[in-house]
């Protein structure tokens, strides 16, 4: 064997071994010694083929800003009262700005400015409007703080959603940041999409507030709202008719405790076998809870989740030990889901669903089955044609084609890329172009034979003349595939991946592999007539 031929032969064997190595886990169940030492990724199928849910969420980061401003307003009020600085109006004017009016500016302006600098460094003075008796400040969040809050809202949201999905129990979920404020979630094989969406997209902000029984609820409903109170509703759904009944509650505005101090949440059943959710606080939360209950005996404590009042039991006594329960009209499933969500924590900002795609498992199976049969039938027809038309040379081309497809699948497993319908489209185009490369070479060899060349010379000339056309056409397509990969989204990307891998492999199989076989055969035997 010639030296260069030997090296090519070794290269082909190495690539073949690597291909089998990556492909094996997809075909066989591998023993444990293999999975623990070697890569054992299977070729993973896209959601359109295996069924599942694709969700694209947008985090409403403006809400994270306005929440912060609301909190600042509460803190400012407390501090101003404590420092005895007289103020009039204080309110949020935009998502990220607030307005405050300080009275008697000559006396208090400097004191207020100093206080702002010391205790509220994240607020920046945007404008100051000074009149004789009152000075109006417009305070806004600094740019740095805004960016921090927005990134935090998305990152923390991502982490929280990941925890929730983990607790819900989905095999191989994909949860990742898509752009600045978007989160992509892919849950393969999910059976109950509605429930999954409920768990994922719930904000789950748990708050404890005291019910205002000193003022009249009906007057407040008509518009005479006490300055420190607000109205929230409890919503009860009748399970038979699906009708919603809303009950209003007049609550003190200030939040006494949030879910931030929860350590865990679980589901229990009462003596009537009705489920309820138990909460356990950490030591700080437990102390706060003990203080609240101690100070408000005989009053009602409302437990609020996402601005829905769940229950408002009367506090009978100081409650120590750091635990509480939420009662509501739960089924065991909704109680379990609520516990999952509370354990994973609340989202720092609400999320909105931008895109949802769900493919049922039966449709996925049908797609795979139909996709496979049709590709197989088409493939076999092409293979048969090649063998009939080009005889042994056609069989050789078919072998190269098979190797090409195996390399694509192995590369998909190795790069952990998913195979989806557009990916199959990419493979179909690859097969077309790989067949074409072989046809080009074979037609050229035939031409050279007709021109009277010996088999050896015809093969040399055929390969070298067909080469430029093959390389040019494959490279142009690879260039366009690279651009598509860079700029495309979802399906277009999937298409570009299989196409790039396939064409690179096709250059190798069509030009190198088949040539080695011809060269080997010609060096071993005296061939007078090519089977072509």
């Amino acid at each position: 064997m010639e030296k260069s031929l030997k090296w090519k032969f070794i290269l082909i064997v190495v690539i073949l071994v690597i291909t089998c190595f990556y492909l094996a886990p997809s075909v066989f169940t591998m023993p444990s010694w293999w999975t623990s030492t070697f890569p054992s990724e299977k070729v993973s199928l896209g959601l359109d083929l295996q069924g599942g849910m694709h969700l694209l969420l947008e985090v409403e980061t403006e809400k994270a800003l306005s929440n912060t401003i609301d909190r600042m307003i509460g803190e400012l009020k407390d501090v101003l009262l404590k420092e005895r600085i007289p103020f009039d109006r204080i309110e949020r004017v935009q998502n990220d700005t607030l307005l405050i009016e300080i009275l008697n500016p000559e006396e208090y302006k400097d004191k207020f400015t100093k206080l702002l600098e010391e205790q509220f460094p994240i607020l920046e003075k945007q404008s100051v409007d000074e009149k004789e008796k009152v000075v109006t400040y417009t305070l806004g969040l600094s740019l740095k703080e805004k960016q921090y809050l927005q990134t935090f809202a998305v990152d923390k949201g991502l982490e929280t959603i990941r925890n929730r999905v983990d607790e819900f129990g989905v095999a191989e979920p994909i949860i990742q940041k898509q752009s600045e404020d978007r989160i992509l979630i892919q849950l393969p094989g999910i059976k109950d999409p509605k429930r999954a969406i409920d768990i994922i997209s719930r904000t789950a902000l748990l708050e404890f507030k005291i019910v205002n029984d000193e003022n009249d609820l009906n007057k407040a409903l008509k518009g005479e709202m006490p300055f420190d109170s607000e109205i929230l509703y409890s919503k009860l759904e009748d399970k038979k008719t699906g009708e919603m009944t809303k009950t209003p509650y007049l609550l003190k505005k200030s939040t006494l405790l949030t879910g931030e101090h929860l350590t865990t949440a679980g589901v229990r059943f009462d003596q009537f076998n009705r489920p309820y959710v138990t909460l356990a606080f950490d030591s700080i939360g437990g102390k706060i809870f003990e203080r609240i209950t101690g100070e408000n005996i005989k009053k009602r404590l409302a437990i609020i989740l996402d601005n829905n009042v769940y229950s408002a039991p009367v506090i009978k006594d100081r409650i120590g030990g750091g635990g509480a329960i939420i009662e509501g009209n739960f089924t065991s499933e909704t109680a379990r889901d609520l516990a999952i969500v509370l354990r994973a924590g609340s989202l720092p900002a609400p999320v909105r669903i931008l895109e949802q795609r769900t493919v049922g498992p039966s449709l996925g199976q049908d797609s795979i089955r139909e996709g496979l049969t049709s590709t197989l039938v088409g493939g076999i027809a092409v293979v048969a044609f090649m063998a009939v038309y080009y005889l042994l040379s056609g069989v050789l081309a078919n072998a190269a084609l098979l190797l090409n497809i195996l390399i694509i699948l192995a590369a998909l497993a190795a790069f952990r890329a998913t195979l989806s319908l557009p990916g199959i489209a990419g493979i179909v185009l690859t097969i077309g172009m790989a067949v074409d490369a072989n046809v080009l070479i074979l037609e050229r060899i035939r031409e050279e034979i007709r021109a009277g060349k010996t088999p050896r010379a015809a093969i040399d000339a055929g390969y070298s003349r067909a080469m430029s056309a093959i390389i040019d056409s494959n490279l142009t397509t690879i260039i366009s595939a690279l651009f598509l990969f860079q700029f495309g989204t979802g399906p277009i990307k999937g298409f570009a991946v299989t196409l790039t891998i396939g064409l690179t492999a096709s250059l190798f199989t069509a030009i190198v592999c088949t040539r080695v076989v011809y060269d080997y055969v010609l060096s071993k035997w005296r061939v007078k007539k090519l089977s072509i």
Partner: protein, 304 residues
Amino acid sequence: MELIKPNINFDFVGKIKWALTFSLSLFALSVLSLLLKGGPRYGLDFIGGTVVQVKFANQVDIGEVRAAVDNLTIEGISVQEFGEKDANEYLISMKTTSEELEGISDKIRAVLEQKFGAKSLEIRRVEMVGPKVGKDLRQKGMLAVIFSLIGMLIYIWYRFELRFGLGAIFCLVHDVVITLGVFSILNKPVDLIIVAALLTIVGYDINDTIIVCDRIRENMKKMTQKSLREVINTSINQTLSRTIITSGTVVIVLIALFFLGGEVLHDFSFCLLIGVFFGTFSSIYVATPLVIYWEKFFPKKKRR
């Protein structure tokens, strides 16, 4: 076995005027249809909306499904049969998304289950795309396609000559517009899968054109005594066997996909069939005339 006789010498270049007339009138027809309908009919991916695909176990008439969902009073809701006849599978589509109407797909499931019973139906697919994402997908898809076309043009320009590059790109535009035109005339929606198919056509087409141009490039060096017309005609004839065989094998695969690939691959393979047909035609009759006409207006000094 041989399908095309080796010494074939069909006068392709002589028929250029006829071919161009055919080609241009199809092109014009496509553009006309696209203009009249205000661009292609974008599918769910690009305009946003909701689609629910439902399959019934028993015989259910389309009128019954329509009556059931009409109770929801959703604007522009439509029901159409999906898949084979008597498959009892329907597509319920609407422009509204859950962003505006909470849990729209659950409501549809609820009314259907109420009317037909929970066991007798299966929700096989729900797709909801918000208008914002639709716009995003449209823009990104377009950018990807434009950049990849520019990339190809530059490569062909570098490897061949500008006139070949322009001819090839013109070919692509020709095929993509005609394919889009056929979709527009048949009122089929264009979604991401169809964009993938159009990209496949582009890839196939550029391949086809390059093979012919490569032979022309090679023969221009060999046949210096012949005119450009003759060189081109010989080149097309020499590659004819390969053109027919490759297109034939691709068409075999596509026909298999079209008839056996199920509903999802149906439009996809249909799009490719049109594209491959016109792609093969255009690499002979659109790219080469452009090279010939270019030569007429900007003749090279060393050639006659």
